[in-house]
Point group: C2
Chain length 359, copies 2
């Protein structure tokens, strides 16, 4: 029984790292006897936009809706198309219409990667950011008045629903229940954002009553970002609104030095729609075309995808392959320049695929 | 000609650090022959709220409006009064009604303070966060519908005006013009927050045309927080909306290890209303009453206040006093426990006042 994966490289280095992710996935598939069926799409890219005047074809939901998962590269070419057009026209549409209401990002200090924080060792930092991914501060409600005059004013609504908040909280509490420390941190700002965030706090309070075994705390987003830097070891599962989660899930990987290699999963937990897996890094137009982009984020996405599709062992084997190559260091392994090595994108991808194959 | 300072300790350790700030200010006043006239107020505290059912007396604007500056401690006792009541009822009222539309926070690696970032030395990090302080995400517009049902929804408006944005940008560009590096970074999120933030970008673009000598760049808030950790040396003046500035001005001091000692200024640049000076740290109920709170943030506030009142040399002398005592280290100076010493709040305050007096 084969699983169907839609592959959407998007822009820039998305096109260079996607083939390495597929190579690694194929190695895992052979070893664990999985059937993965890849199909490529060229939309959700700025080139597509320049040719068609839109980021996606009209029937994108039908074209993609039947797949088991979407493996996504990166989108954005701000020199050619403004980001709010390219992103709202693609990635944010997928998240919303495929109801990928969880954005999950691991923040993990990996072997062989230098953390910018003093004195932290692999094992010290290992947590997840669970981000609400469909509502909140990313709304499309609002507008501009008195345009072009001194009175000009823009208004944008933050919209949070009980359904939307409760389901992301439930996912985060369940995730915390499965982890040894059973700890959940809520990101809030109820001291300043006086309508939506006190409501968020109320829902956290109510949900926590159903999970008496979880140790729950909360921090305002300002001091929480500070604590990511000062006490990253405090965290296990951090749950946050769309905007706060966006911030925390870049800051977390920055603290572990993994922003160039971290993955993210946009998940519809009920499998009603395909989930989408994309690296944290962007399309990096500045290095595109030189075969030096680091493919690890995209490969790690493959690992998260296999886990989501029910293949936990195969996903773990992919992560082990990544860690083994990283631990070997740039003397032994063809690490890319961002990791201090001289390897190319394809050489590093090949080394990881070999490590996955050999187990 | 004396200048009148309203002193508002607020809650918790505000009451312990305020006297040390006054001691230091009096030392500076004697040395530079300034006339400062202090008057104390007990409102804007949770105790006042518990006695009066409100954080401020009805005529607070008249009582405080005539002062030259407000020296503020900290507000908040979440065990007794929810933060969104105590803060919205006091600090946020001052900011808005006294039109303190600039929140200015230095992020500076100080001698003798351990940065959590690996390999950074004093001098490496030295920038300002300029935060819009009256509008944006901190609005009071919005509400809740379908209360108590599954359909429950909360909505809160972000409101940005051309006037509000332009004046904070102007302040930030002027500040950048006076600094050697002449560099300004704008915090945005126009790729995701699709109405207000593209407008913010537009205003930055327009304002930058009036300052051709300033080197301007922008980052989305997610990667900007990452860059505070990865490349804090990139920044000189960072300008941001109310919420983004709130986050960056906790994260910045965290990166320099100074969150317990950093000051902040809430400024009405035209001096139409009194400006307010408060430390970044909160009321810290957990350590209140033990005379161990670090008074440096509050003293540094005094330095910023003197500068704002036109006494640049005296303000600089206060900062020099702080730096001299910090540089002496805990063997020579009565540093408080948070700095690795065994001094008390009053001992450290006295040491700094002495250093200011002796120059
Ligand atoms: C206490 C809170 C309302 C306040 C804010 O968010 O503005 C604080 O974090 C600050 O930065 O002064
Ligand atoms: C590109 C942008 C719209 C997106 C977001 O803000 O969600 C990105 O930062 C992310 O985190 O996936």
């Amino acid at each position: 029984m084969s699983q169907r994966i839609a592959v959407i490289p998007g822009d820039g280095i998305g096109n260079e790292v996607i083939p390495e992710s597929i190579r690694a996935l194929e190695a895992a598939a052979r070893r664990f006897d999985l059937q993965l069926d890849f199909r490529h799409f060229d939309f959700a890219s700025c080139d597509y936009y320049l040719n068609h005047g839109r980021m996606l074809p009209e029937d994108w939901k039908e074209q993609l809706g039947g797949f088991d998962a979407l493996l996504f590269g990166a989108v954005g070419m701000p020199e050619k198309v403004p980001d709010h057009i390219s992103l709202w026209g693609s990635l944010l549409q997928f998240r919303r219409h495929f109801d990928q209401y969880i954005n999950l990002r691991p923040c993990k200090l990996m072997p062989g990667i230098r953390s910018p924080l003093a004195g932290r060792e692999p094992g010290d930092i290992d947590f997840y950011v669970v981000r609400e991914n469909t509502e909140g501060e990313y709304s499309s409600v609002g507008g501009k008045m008195f345009e072009g005059t001194e009175r000009e004013v823009v208004i944008q609504d933050t919209v949070m629903t009980r359904i939307g908040i409760d389901r992301v909280l439930k996912y985060a509490f369940e995730l915390a229940s499965r982890r040894p420390r059973r700890k959940l941190t809520s990101a809030t700002k109820s001291n300043g954002i006086s309508i939506t965030m006190p409501y968020w706090d109320e829902r956290v309070q109510e949900m926590s009553e159903h999970y008496p075994n979880i140790d729950v705390d909360k921090f305002h987003i300002d001091i929480l970002t500070a604590n990511f830097v000062l006490h990253p070891d405090w965290f296990d599962v951090v749950v946050a609104s769309n905007l706060f989660g966006d911030i925390l899930s870049d800051l977390g990987p920055a603290c572990t030095g993994t922003i160039g290699v971290a993955p993210s999963a946009n998940i519809n937990p009920e499998h009603r729609f395909p989930s989408l897996f994309e690296p944290v890094h962007g399309s990096a137009p500045d290095i595109y075309g030189r075969n030096i982009a680091n493919p690890i984020g995209q490969i790690w996405c493959g690992a998260m995808m296999l886990e989501h599709l029910g293949h936990e062992k195969a996903g773990q084997a992919m992560l082990d392959g990544i860690e083994a190559v990283l631990a070997a260091g740039s003397d032994q392994a063809p690490l890319t320049p961002d990791l201090g090595g001289q390897g190319t994108t394809s050489e590093l991808g090949e080394a990881i695929a070999d490590a996955i194959r050999d187990g």
